[in-house]
């Protein structure tokens, strides 16, 4: 038993632990998700995060120790943002043809998500730096952090809000869309990519190819629009 504890202490202090735990738990969560026929509530990211958090708490592993391994996965977010050029390029002709509709929907949706977050937060009496961290929440985490930094929010919190927003979208969007009714997959995917970024898009990619392509497109458009417009808008306040 003593040996086992020593071995655990050694292993959990190396980057190997964070990386292995992340991949292993995610692979299991994905398998379960497929088994449950991709039910939105069985979202693999949600359950992987909860399981890992529980694991860290129970074993008393501090987050920086975990992150020393998980950073290798986290790092890939940057190249993944660059990779969004591919779905954009692929649907280039379609995008140009529908450019007006797409940009207008992305602007309206982005403004509605960001504006309502700040308005509701303000009405509920949240402090200004929290509101500034809420504004970029529909953008993918690393970009949201960059924007928050520029407009005087707290980058780490912006990342937290972005992830929570993505999870809320991925888990609940299907029920909302079914409630609105008569929405084609492309429209559903585009809304997911616009209002809940990568996590929403990931859900769309898993469910339907058309929805996935439009979600990737929405992600790229939303990234560009919010990175360009957010600092300008925050400048006025």
């Amino acid at each position: 038993m003593q040996d086992f504890v020593q071995l655990w202490v050694y292993l959990s202090a190396t980057p190997l632990f964070g990386l292995t735990a992340t991949l292993a738990v995610y692979v299991l969560a994905r398998a379960l998700y497929a088994r449950l026929d991709h039910a939105p509530w069985a979202n693999p990211v949600l359950w992987t995060v909860l399981t890992l958090a529980l694991l860290l708490t129970l074993s008393g592993t501090p987050y920086p120790t975990y992150f020393s391994g998980a950073q290798f996965i986290h790092f890939l977010l940057g190249p993944a943002v660059v990779a969004l050029a591919w779905p954009l390029w692929q649907r280039g002709a379609e995008l140009r043809q529908r450019a007006g509709a797409i940009v207008l929907a992305a602007l309206a949706g982005g403004a509605a998500a960001s504006g309502s977050a700040v308005a509701i937060g303000w009405a509920l009496g949240l402090p200004p730096e929290l509101l500034r961290s809420l504004a970029p929440k529909s953008v993918t985490a690393p970009v949201a952090m960059g924007i928050a930094e520029q407009i005087g929010g707290i980058p780490a919190l912006a990342a937290v809000f972005a992830v929570l927003t993505g999870l809320v979208g991925a888990v609940s969007a299907k029920y909302l869309f079914d409630g609105i009714g008569n929405l084609p997959p492309a429209v559903r995917g585009f809304a997911l990519g616009t209002a809940s970024h990568g996590l929403g898009a990931a859900r769309a990619i898993q469910v339907d190819p058309d929805a996935g392509a439009y979600a990737g497109l929405a992600l790229g458009v939303q990234l560009l629009l919010s990175a360009l417009l957010m600092p300008l808008i925050a400048h006025w306040f």
Binding site: V82, R98, A106, A117, L134, V143, G146, L157, F190
Partner: protein, 114 residues
């Protein structure tokens, strides 16, 4: 092999983007500038074929990439729980509003066109 050189292209574009953001004091984040650079480079088959393999692999597992940040949410729960319910209300409601507005606007626009 394709996926590997594709990843090299992605990293090159990201690096160029980061460099451009710093040197030119642009407000866009480095990876977003990298996306724009890649969008231009994709005209060439030499770039397109490897990037396709790498991008498909990366984007298929996009949700995995959010796990480390997600676990980090737990370490910031102190700040989040301080404003707990109010913050959650703002987050959830605004996400639904954003989803609904985007979907309804796009549907209306596409309908008007056809």
């Amino acid at each position: 092999m394709d996926a590997l050189s594709g990843l090299a292209w992605l990293l090159l574009c990201q690096s160029a983007g980061e460099a451009a953001a710093r040197l030119l004091h642009l407000r866009l984040p480095g990876p977003v500038i990298g996306l724009l650079i890649l969008l231009v480079l994709l005209r060439w088959t030499l770039v397109r074929k490897p990037v396709e393999a790498a991008a498909d692999a990366l984007l298929a597992h996009l949700s995995l990439l959010f796990v480390p940040v997600g676990v980090g949410v737990m370490t910031h729960m102190g700040l989040v729980s301080q404003y707990g319910i109010r913050l959650l209300v703002a987050l959830v409601l605004s996400t639904w509003i954003g989803l609904a507005v985007t979907a309804v606007v796009l549907r209306a626009m596409l309908r008007g066109k056809t």
